[in-house]
Symmetry: C2
Subunit: 692 residues, 2 copies
């Protein structure tokens, strides 16, 4: 069937608008839920204000960064402005700014709803698990719908307005640079607060988690929102945009409109499937929240599979590409499930780490690191198999089709991202709700309900995280393909030879690979040291407050801790620490590019992907494993709460916190950023390098 070039983009825009409408309805629904407890309203307000304060400051810093970056883009990209049509550079700069703005709006929406949903969830828990679950889940779903709607809308608009694939990469780069800092900054904030609150509260003073006397307790709850809601949203916004952009760039190089149509069609179907999945999510009266979350994920997956098959049949897309896309989705689910094995407290790894904790913290750490290392294997094989499989399925189509297959496998894996974000954002909302229930004195029965909601959040998070890393892996392989497309376009323009690939035996490639492989390690180290330094600042502040505020330790009602001061420290510190880490990755890319040219960059990106995936999987999984081992011991195993093994498990959990919530998930974004920097600077690297 013939369609105008604008047909599928128009459908995408419609579905994106539908998702916004649905998000607005969900938002209204959440807001309608009653909240009456004074204390919850008070504390909830503090959290909301703290999160907004952080966001405002963060966006201010990022605005400056984006300002400088867009100026540089305007001057130099895709080619220096004095050698180029200035409209092209201007388009690029505007696309870049738009990417950053769209991502930040989605993040802002997420925070707005999360910080009202947490109170509603806590209150609803008085009426049982069902209404509490619905508040938490629908709150998270607002974020899911907003992020995926905004990313689809943004990509489509940039495509329709500019009809320029490089501008799409600019848009994607805008989203990535925001994600890099939002994820890293939020990650530093959340773990600074979490670690300091635990260290001073639980460990030193022996007061419970979420005790309102602890000056860091509000910062801790703010952290869940800015790290896990806003940061995670920006991260998946980025992955989603990057996978669509890579697919579109490669589709364009194939020279047929139908392939571009296919990308929009599949992305729109993915969002539609997520809308249906979210709308139908239910939990039985005394039901199992984990089951509810997972089954709606499977429903979404199935709907996507069926609808894309119908679309492929109706619109005459290539069936092989459909196969690649479904392969990506299925492998994503498998990666999620196998990864889950390493963090599930009914399985061996968590239990063995809990057992090892009986011999002291060194053994908690050693066994956790070991299982974290082991856990990388299934995902690495899975990503490899899906890339290889997608390629082989599409090989008979010839030309660039196999690479398009890989890109569409990534699009397939990320198709259900709306559902995944909903599940992911559910986590911090119910975690917050637990804290509010504690501070609002809602009683043990309510705490039990919020605990069970929280634990479901942790389990689901492990699966979605594996999914996200797998998708990022495929996406960056596709971005490597997009990089080659960009390089060759530039090579044509400059009358240079085309490149077909990167030979490992070329020492320039190998040099790039070794440097690229070290970057994720350096980047995570800088973030973790940032958390460490920042936590030390905050711990001193907490000590100061307990010393200077009379009656605080004893819990006298008129002795109020200065929550704001802690939030301020976490905010300042996070912003101070995140810039050097991000810049290091970007500057290393630029140096390698100017030293070794596009061949060195090919190696650099490969080394970065390979070691980045490995470290991201290792850190996310061992972090989750320690968290769950601690919870497992707290449930009474291996000596239970307060025992020596529990203390050892707390050490593991503290180490795991920045692993799984700061460094691990930021690596994805770091990889995407350097891939996009490389693509955007390909002309410069091609023409100006020393050894290239």
């Amino acid at each position: 069937m013939p369609f105008s070039q604008a047909f599928f983009p128009a459908v995408s825009i419609l579905i994106a608008l539908l998702s916004f409408a649905f998000a607005a309805w969900l938002y209204g629904w959440v807001k309608k839920q009653p909240v009456s407890n004074e204390r919850i309203i008070h504390v909830g307000g503090l959290i909301r204000r703290g999160a907004n304060t952080f966001l405002a400051k963060e966006y201010m810093v990022l605005a400056k960064f984006v300002g400088v970056a867009s100026l540089l883009i305007f001057l130099f990209l895709p080619s220096p402005i004095w050698k180029n049509d200035f409209i092209q550079n201007l388009t690029m700069a505007i696309a870049y700014i738009t990417g950053a703005v769209f991502s930040s709006i989605a993040g802002k929406i997420g925070i707005q709803v999360a910080t009202i949903a947490n109170m509603r969830t806590a209150e609803s828990a008085k009426k049982g698990i069902r209404p509490a679950f619905m508040s938490g889940f629908r709150g998270g779903a607002v974020m899911g719908m907003a992020v995926v709607g905004a990313s689809l809308l943004g990509v489509t608009l940039v495509y329709l307005i500019t009809d320029n694939m490089t501008a799409l990469l600019g848009f994607s780069f805008g989203a990535s640079s925001l994600a890099l800092f939002a994820k890293a900054g939020g990650g530093i904030f959340t773990k600074t607060a979490d670690i300091s609150a635990d260290l001073c509260g639980k460990v030193e003073l022996g007061i419970p988690e979420d005790d309102p006397r602890n000056p860091a307790v509000i910062a801790d709850n703010v952290g869940d929102n800015v790290g896990d809601v806003a940061g995670m949203g920006a991260d998946l916004f980025d992955s989603n945009v990057a996978s669509m952009s890579a697919a579109l760039v490669i589709a364009a190089s194939l020279g047929k409109q139908i392939n571009i149509n296919m990308v929009f069609c599949y992305a729109a179907i993915g969002l539609l499937a997520s809308i249906i999945g979210v709308a139908t999510a239910r939990i039985g009266k005394n039901g199992n929240p984990t089951f509810a979350l997972n089954s709606s994920t499977y429903v979404t997956t199935a709907i996507f599979g069926v609808l894309t098959a119908l679309a492929t049949w109706a619109f005459g897309f290539e069936w092989r590409i459909w196969g690649a896309s479904i392969l990506g989705l299925v492998v994503g689910v498998i990666i999620g499930i196998t990864t889950d094995y390493f963090t599930d407290d009914r399985k061996n790894p968590v239990r063995r780490v809990a057992k090892a904790s009986e011999s002291g913290p060194a053994f908690t750490i050693l066994s956790g690191i070991s299982y974290g290392f082991l856990s990388t294997l299934p995902a690495m094989i899975g990503i490899g198999v899906s890339a290889l499989g997608a390629y082989k399925i599409c090989e008979p189509l010839g030309g660039e089709y196999p690479m398009f297959g890989i890109a569409m496998a990534a699009v397939g894996m990320l198709s259900i991202v709306g559902m995944i974000i909903s599940n992911d954002a559910y986590g911090p909302i119910v975690d917050n709700a637990r804290g509010l229930a504690e501070m609002g004195d809602l009683g043990d029965e309510v705490l039990e309900i919020t605990d069970s909601l929280d634990s479901a959040g942790n389990t689901v998070k492990a699966i979605t995280k594996g999914f996200a890393i797998g998708a990022a892996g495929l996406t960056v392989i596709a971005l490597l393909g997009a990089f080659i497309s960009e390089v060759n376009q530039a090579a044509l323009e400059h009358g240079l030879g085309l490149i077909t690939g990167f030979d490992i035996m070329n020492p320039v490639v190998f040099f790039g690979m070794l440097v690229g492989a070290a970057i994720p390690a350096v980047f995570s180290a800088m973030l973790m040291l940032g958390v460490d330094r920042n936590a030390q600042r905050m711990v001193s502040e907490i000590h100061r407050q307990f010393k200077e505020i009379v009656g605080l330790k004893e819990g006298e009602p008129e002795a109020q801790p200065d929550y704001d001061k802690c939030i301020e420290i976490a905010t300042h510190g996070a912003l101070r620490e995140l810039i050097p880490a991000g810049l290091t990755a970007i500057i290393a890319t630029i140096c390698v590019g100017f030293i070794g040219g596009v061949q060195a960059i090919g190696g650099f990106l490969t080394g970065n992907i390979v070691s980045g995936l490995l470290l991201a999987l290792f850190m996310s999984n061992s972090g989750g494993l320690w968290d769950n081992s601690k919870k497992y011991i707290e449930s009474g195993a291996n000596g239970g709460k307060g025992s020596e093994s529990h203390k050892a498990a707390v050490v593991g959990d503290t180490v795991g916190d920045p692993f799984k919530d700061t460094a691990g998930p930021s690596i994805n974004t770091q990889i995407t950023v350097v891939s996009l920097v490389s693509s955007l600077m390909s002309t410069l690297f091609l023409t100006l390098s020393i050894f290239g």
Copy 2:
């Protein structure tokens, strides 16, 4: 000048024999040193017997492995015997066995001298630091001379007898498979004993290190010998043979005898330079042992540079190759020095980790891991630069010369390996001497001397370890070159197309790369879990002895602990745990090869090298960093011995132990083994793979 083909090999044999003669003289000198203290003789005897027991059992297990492996080689390599000349397969199998036997003889010699030198060093310390240093250093030098002499002799003999480069790879594979198990087995043994002894002795009972009441104390001292002397010797034997073999394979493919001559000439000069360096090592009367060790390393380096320049001039070798070789050596020294920054207690990283320990063990771990990650960057860049530099220097020579340049850079970096092993083996000898001095009640003054010798050992070890990893990195790049030579030789024989490299954009290569990158993580995890399980067994045994042997805890003279039982547990456990880890790496290689053929193997090896180097550097350096932070705190900083920060630092040190002495250094060998398996099986992978 024209030389017969046998001239340079003959010179190599002569120098190898000279090194044996020198080793024998040193052995005699060490043996002549007096030892009179009854207690030292008794305990020293126990250590010697324990080490020999372990070695005997280990070699027994390895003999079975080597037996099975050589049968498989005979049947299948280089081609299945029914398709091939059986003499070729027999040569290969014999070369393989010879490699394993030569390596084990060198290890055995090292243990023989180390277990007498430790007693002499302890006794000599009564007379001052000078004689004690000489006993320790010369004891270590016996190992250095034996290992390098045996590796040079072995390679030369195999070359002269078979004139077959593939047989050389077989010899190298024999050395590697022995090293894989000796290093991993010894590493598991030593850390099992070390951790258990510390945990039960220092932590639980509060008795000092090396207290004779501790049933694990002898096993701990045995461990130093089997892990750090025998294991490390096998490891560097392996690297040295691999670098020479890779250089010879590539030299042969260049088709000129002069290049082969050059390899033998440079290797012989390296050994000669080490002999001179060892012979001239001196320490002033109240001198600084670190300075003495380092300055003899620099002397060796300088001699190598001058003599190879003379040889290049005299024999008309290519000056560019000389340049590549010297570049390798210089970069090796730089890697050693920069790496040292991260483990030196006068520098920031160690001090910051010590400071972080004040906040508890979680911060010791987090900051140590972070600095460990950071420490990978200089070495990764260094290896990349030396490979790129060597290639570029030799590029004007054309053909395979640039790859030969990389191989010769590795030979250059490893040229001073004799000196490095001497320094490395010095460490465990003086560590043992410290223990003997403690058990022999030699008094505080003697302990002070042995402590200062020991601390010099630790410092020097950090540098030599960086060196060894750098050299291994270059060697495996050269092995990748050797792999291509082998594949193309097989391709010619089978009338298949030649390969010139491995394109990253080929998804088969990418698939191999992802799997290859996961293997070092899996391999190290298995070793660390092995240590963990084994230590738990040993801790139970120690608890049993303290419970059942009356008067042991109180130190009554007739209450003797059962040292042998602990040695037995460590031995059995180590052997039980090492085989699965080694087999996993080998089987993964074979699977990837049969699935994706030589292209997938190219990716697999690359991923393995890149992630292996990264993890090896990370683990070795963070391990050394934690060790020195603990020692720094023990010297009185950050609260000193017994403080909370000291306890936290002990946790770091315990985590670091298997990092730096088991997993980290074993990864080198793992990489070499899979490279050699790939080269040897190249014909099979070329002709029998599914996707290749």
